[in-house]
Symmetry: C2
Subunit: 103 residues, 2 copies
């Protein structure tokens, strides 16, 4: 039981998996693009969630020397081990929506 709780401690909350799947889908993703991808998330919340994902060694942050400066994120090797779970959660989400809302 504890192992699955460990995972959920890291991945829990409304946003983390959606953020990871946005970065995962595009391989590298700018902050502003993630903000656009993840429906309903605020700038402040995205910063906080990305910080936590960095602390948990799931994403790397790089500052691009552009005008204006852009910040880019990519999954770490450890982060990429989540790919299977993200794919399963995506497929399950589609099935669940059909089951519950009949869409």
């Amino acid at each position: 039981m504890r192992a699955v709780q460990d995972s959920m401690d890291v991945l829990s909350g409304k946003w983390k998996i959606a953020i990871l799947s946005s970065i995962c889908y595009y391989n590298k993703r700018r902050f502003s693009d993630i903000l656009h991808d993840v429906e309903g998330i605020s700038n402040k919340m995205l910063s906080k969630e990305l910080k936590e994902l960095e602390i948990n060694k799931l994403v790397n942050r790089s500052v691009m020397d552009t005008q204006p400066i852009t910040v880019q994120y990519e999954l770490t090797e450890h982060g990429r081990t989540l790919q299977t779970i993200i794919n399963h959660l995506t497929a399950w989400g589609i099935e669940h929506r059909k089951k519950i809302i009949g869409e």
Copy 2:
């Protein structure tokens, strides 16, 4: 992105996946046993989470005609489709703990 968010809306929070994995592990599980399995959860929280899982058609609740009465839970067919995700999250949780805490 929305599909993965749909999943996390249902599974999110600290407790749901741990509750599902307890029921899943034992096939059928009494309320009091789940309370014991899931480290740190309160009676009130467990009732609330189980109610939400029932609404989302993931678990079935049955009242056993025992003295005193016992309430038992099992996964629905739809709930059992989460088995793969729960297994992956369990395995990932073990890897993550090694990576982060070096246990």
